[in-house]
Symmetry: C2
Subunit: 248 residues, 2 copies
Amino acid sequence: MDEAEERIATANTLTPPEAVFAPVRSQTAFEETVDRLGTAIKLGLLAPGSQLPAERELCGRLGIARSTLRQALTALTQSGHVFATRGRGGGTFVSDPQPPADPPSAEMLAQWRETCDQRLAIELGVAVLAAERAERGDLDALDDVARTLEAAIEDFTAYRQADIRLHVGLAEATRSDRLVRDMTEAQGAMTDLIGYIAHPPTVLASSNAQHRQLLAAVRERDAMRAVRVMSEHVQATEHILAGLLPGG
Amino acid sequence: MDEAEERIATANTLTPPEAVFAPVRSQTAFEETVDRLGTAIKLGLLAPGSQLPAERELCGRLGIARSTLRQALTALTQSGHVFATRGRGGGTFVSDPQPPADPPSAEMLAQWRETCDQRLAIELGVAVLAAERAERGDLDALDDVARTLEAAIEDFTAYRQADIRLHVGLAEATRSDRLVRDMTEAQGAMTDLIGYIAHPPTVLASSNAQHRQLLAAVRERDAMRAVRVMSEHVQATEHILAGLLPGG
DNA sequence: GATCGAAGGCCGGAAGACCAAACCTTTTCT
DNA sequence: AGAAAAGGTTTGGTCTTCCGGCCTTCGATC
């Protein structure tokens, strides 16, 4: 016992991780709401033309006051992501021609590697849990998305859209809301990073082959194979970024 | 092209993930600070008796006002986690006999499975990236921790402490601050969950065998083996919880 | 055609969180 | 004795958020 305590004591003498004292990011409810809805729109999870829940209902679901929600909606209206119509039968809708994405910010670029690391973690977790929990219907739907993906190899915008649906759909198949949220955030960050770089069809084709293998592994409940494929899939993107971004 | 667009349109007709409209948790700076420091102390990352940075420096590092930091420190003082001495050479220190952990809250228990899912993801990501990036020195230090772990098999408190150091240490070896932060949060949540359940030495012994295999795999840069071992390691805990908590 | 109801669009006050910048008190080191 | 370094205190102001009521629009229904 003395021996154990001594080892613990020496182990604890190590300096604490500096992450403990890193800045706290206290996002306001307003910012977080703009982010949530804006990301969902950018990713196409809220389709162009689709209607958002009524303000009086949505603020309840988001757990914020209606005035705060309206601030967020005003911001999204001004940035051209949504528009509102009044009167009965009116509502807030996702704009049809989405505004062009804005270029990645400096701090976004500075943290791109950590963003990829975090994404890798989420994707691997999703791969394992989807292999355990995905049901037949989930996989059939994902196969549809994969087919869409293969048909869109020449149109990067359409491709990216379907790609997101596939990854988020896999997260949904884990039945874990938290992983869906994390996946959404991660894909939003990735979109910011890769939106401006070229993706030749050959790259997309190889990506599609991985999607196929991934879904096959999940269908066979082969978690480890799913992880291997997913790891290669994600790190392929990372290698592309490494060649184009600073610090690569 | 028409074909592709049509498929995308049908794919987007699906209902958006309800996670999009889930409540926003806008934690205040005060809450987040209490959480960060409190978790670091509970996990032993800030050792009993060790000194925190001076208030005037710490508030700068955390990016908050001193008065806000003091609110957090006051809360931690009242809960018995830290104490302060005045005058030159004084400071804020981690209390030596730590207050007993409080039992897991209801919502904590309600979300235990999602908590485990998220932890699994982070641990898998850490396993892969540590296998790629860990350096010799990191691994030697982790071997030390593993030895501590094996000597502490009869004392769950000491065991848990070293266990945390091992997992967080592995995260540090990825050189990704964000993963360190996520790992810390995940381990904090796990501590809340498992603090109150019995862990017979046989379970800890089997856990230790997995730690050994994990470190060996990382040392050999065998990412896939590291993932497999880590997955089994994490899911073993999950199975224990499943037998004891509601909804298992 | 009048009315109802559901939706977005306002406004004003109250409460609280956060910040900034002082100043005070205690203790130790020089 | 005094300077320095730490925690402790006070004050005032800004910004965010909430609550709740009210207004305006306009399709649906009677």
